[in-house]
């Protein structure tokens, strides 16, 4: 079991529809390949953690890194982990129209985000806390 954390910049701001498409696509694909994790998005800033078998997430990361929707992909961690810290794959962001997202599986408003799981090694938990703060801002963090 490995996990990978990266940050990136959207090539252009993602619309509600873009985010919804991404959510649908990734939730479906990730569930199929037993990939779990979390993605943060705000104002063109992206950060994601993915967990899964190295044989799955290595090529997935390669695909994501080549995805034309974003650039400046910076890998922050890529290492073996003892066990998963996320039960499923979800996305946290501020849609313009939150109403239509409220009921969607795997979608979270930033203030609904649970705290970073304790099961992560401390250095990786710190990475997640820092990228979450960098993407979603400190205000949402303190609202937890």
């Amino acid at each position: 079991m490995n996990h990978i954390v990266y940050m990136s910049r959207a090539v252009r701001p993602l619309s509600d529809q873009d985010l919804r498409d991404l959510l649908d696509q990734c939730r479906y694909d990730n569930a199929r390949h037993e990939v779990t994790g979390i993605l943060f998005y705000s104002h063109g800033n992206i950060a994601q953690l993915i967990e899964g078998a190295p044989a799955v997430i290595e090529p997935l990361y390669e695909r994501i890194a080549r995805d034309g929707r974003h650039s400046h992909v910076l890998q922050l961690a890529n290492k073996p982990i003892a066990h998963r810290s996320f039960a499923e794959w979800s996305m946290a962001f501020h849609p313009l129209e939150s109403e239509s997202f409220r009921a969607l599986e795997g979608f979270l408003l930033p203030h609904q985000l649970p705290p970073t799981p304790d099961s992560l090694p401390i250095a990786d938990a710190l990475i997640v806390d820092l990228v979450r703060q960098a993407v979603l801002g400190a205000a949402d963090q303190s609202a937890l």
């Binding site: 922050l76 961690a77 090694p121 401390i122 250095a123 990786d124 938990a125 710190l126 990475i127 806390d129 820092l130 990228v131 703060q133 960098a134 400190a138 963090q141």
Partner: protein
């Protein structure tokens, strides 16, 4: 037959041929091409002017003139508008028209031979060429303006490396006269340190037929050398056969200096950071470590790669990690300085105390974090050792006090019993020898002394415990009176007079029990060491010293003592000045200890047989 053949040839010639007869220029022979030109078969013998067709009045006029003058004329590329077959737009055609006068045998004018060759294609080509030439000239002019006004020097070199052209900017920049010999001067204006390299590089590029791109310093008109970027490309006429090199020289001095300064600054910083036996690091705006110095790797036993952007947190003692991580996230959010004392693991697994500090600074790359971890373990351990020793001493002291207190307490009972037994012995036994009676008195005295010592020991410990008591504003008079009440028996016995003079400083901020102890001991001492030949007189005075601090003076007219003037008098436990007088000497020791512990000192002046004065400086 020949005539016929000729007619045939003329008729089908690809050029128009026609004859016009008489001064009216009546239509004569017209071959097919000429008929096409004029717009169809025209009736013979009619004057041409009537059926002019596409012919302009101008042309008709010239024909008349040629007829009259009898001299041939050729109109080159004469334009005629010919109506096309489908009655569409008339087409402009160009003809070379030859007008040749015809004469009879007597040299009389007969008419005109008109010969028309369609040169439309050639003419159009010529016109296009002309237009192209115009356009080229215009572009050329524009290029010239551009090359001569843009803020760069442009040049062309031929295959031998000789300058064919250089834009005027070169002259402005170098301040050289327009007559300067470029090929000689230019190399001389290159900085001596760069010259050989530049000459070699351009020569090498020319011999291999490629372009170049290099920087060098060129001397400006004011003598200053400026960094220039020279770029050139070959113009190839045949493959691999360059004929010219065209290029530009741009001033890049400022960029170069700036980049150089930045590089130097960063390099110097890195060098410093790498030479310091401290853990130094920098982090991005959002809190990820981007650089750890060399010492970090040596100290932690892990490379920057292994540590990663947040690996430092895992080096801290496990109990401190969560709080440190929270604090870091918070500092990154607010830009506040990070500072704390943490235990960090060394490569050998030992945790050592470190002060970790990081501060956000903004340089040309935006805000960045600069951090340092200082190993303060040795200091920290020293402090811990001192603290432990101090604690141990304090405990020992407490134990000793307790021991003394308990011992004095425990000894009281046997002493009490001893005195009871002794009294019983005195009551029942009879002594006949007077020396034996004296022995009795001595035993009695010794017993009293032992009793006194025990009491004082107990009091010492008691007061010691009260040293830490809170201070309060005390009325000196009422405390002194309280003390005197306790000393009533001794005062009466010795018939001492005690004078109180405290108007100058009637109150004192002190521990109540402490003040009582001090007064009790000093006054009882004064009475105890009274001179046998005169009544005891004790003065207790409270005043404010020159230093502004309160002072207590207790003066007597008693036995006095020898004071070693050189050394500050020290009153040790059980030190007795007058062995013949009861008391363990504990009293003064106790007074001194109380006063010292509250930040003051005790001084004494005395003259044997005259009296003693104790001065209590409550505070320094």
């Amino acid at each position: 037959m020949r005539e016929q053949q000729l007619q045939h040839i003329l008729r089908h010639m690809p050029a128009g041929i026609g004859t016009l007869l008489g001064p009216e220029l009546r239509i004569g022979f017209l071959n097919e091409a000429m008929r096409n030109l004029l717009g169809g078969a025209l009736p013979a013998d009619e004057p041409l002017a009537v059926h002019a067709g596409p012919l302009t009045p101008d042309l008709l006029e010239v024909m008349q003139q040629v007829y009259l003058a009898g001299r041939p004329y050729v109109a080159k590329a004469y334009p005629l508008l010919l109506s096309g077959p489908a009655q569409a737009e008339p087409n402009r055609h160009y003809f070379d028209l030859t007008l040749e006068p015809l004469h009879d045998e007597k040299e009389q004018p007969l008419g005109l031979l008109v010969f028309a060759v369609d040169v439309t294609t050639q003419e159009e080509a010529r016109q296009r060429a002309h237009e192209l030439a115009l356009e080229t000239r215009r572009l050329d002019a524009r290029l010239r303006v551009l090359t001569e006004t843009a803020p760069l020097i442009t040049f062309s070199l031929n295959a031998d490396g000789q300058f064919e052209y250089v834009s005027p900017q070169w002259y402005y920049f170098t301040g050289q006269p327009p007559t300067a010999d470029l090929n000689v001067i230019w190399p001389l204006l290159i900085h001596p340190d760069d010259r050989l390299r530049v000459l070699y590089q351009s020569e090498a590029a020319r011999t291999t037929g490629v372009g170049w791109n290099y920087e060098y310093r060129l001397r400006r008109h004011d003598g200053q050398y400026c960094w220039m970027l020279s770029q050139a490309l070959p113009e190839l006429h045949a493959p691999n056969k360059p004929v010219f090199w065209h290029g530009a020289v741009t001033e890049v001095h400022d960029q170069r200096e700036l980049a150089e300064a930045l590089r130097r600054g960063e390099a110097e910083l890195r060098f410093l950071a790498d030479s310091i036996p401290q853990l130094i690091w920098t982090a991005s705006t959002i809190g990820f470590i981007e650089y750890y110095n060399k010492h970090t790797a040596e100290y932690t036993g892990r490379s920057g790669q292994e540590l990663g952007p947040t690996g430092w947190i895992a080096l801290l003692a496990p109990a401190e990690q969560a709080a440190a991580a929270r604090r870091w996230v918070q500092c990154v959010a607010t830009g506040q300085e990070f500072e704390g004392l943490y235990q960090m693991r060394r490569h050998d697994g030992q945790y050592r105390w470190h002060i970790i500090r990081a501060r956000q600074l903004t340089d040309s790359n935006g805000p960045r974090w600069f951090g340092a971890c200082t190993d303060v373990d040795d200091q920290h351990r020293l402090r811990e050792v001192l603290q432990t020793q101090y604690d141990e001493l304090a405990r020992t002291n407490r134990d000793l006090d307790t021991f003394v207190y308990t011992a004095s307490h425990d000894l009281k009972q046997p002493l009490f019993n001893l005195r009871g037994l002794f009294d019983e012995l005195r009551r029942t036994a009879t002594f006949h020898d007077s020396e034996q009676a004296a022995l009795l008195t001595m035993v009695d005295e010794a017993l009293s002394q032992l009793d006194g010592t025990l009491q004082e020991l107990a009091a010492t410990v008691q007061d010691q415990r009260e040293l830490a008591a809170p201070t309060e504003e005390l009325d000196l008079r009422s405390v002194t009176e309280e003390v005197l009440l306790g000393l009533r028996a001794q005062v009466q016995e010795s018939q001492a007079t005690i004078d109180l003079d405290i108007a100058a400083a009637p109150t004192l901020l002190y521990g109540r029990a402490n003040l009582r102890s001090v007064l009790h001991n000093l006054i009882s001492n004064a009475i105890k060491f009274a001179h046998p030949e005169r009544a005891s007189h004790v003065v207790v005075r409270s005043l404010v010293a020159d230093s502004g601090q309160p002072v207590l003076v207790v003066q007597d007219n008693g036995l006095g003592m020898r004071v070693n003037a050189e050394t500050e008098p020290m009153f040790h436990t059980f030190e007795r000045q007058h062995p013949r007088i009861a008391g363990a000497g504990v009293g003064l020791y106790l007074v001194q200890r109380i006063i010292n512990s509250r930040g003051g000192h005790l001084s004494v002046s005395s003259a044997p047989q005259r009296g003693t004065t104790f001065t209590v400086h409550w505070f320094e």
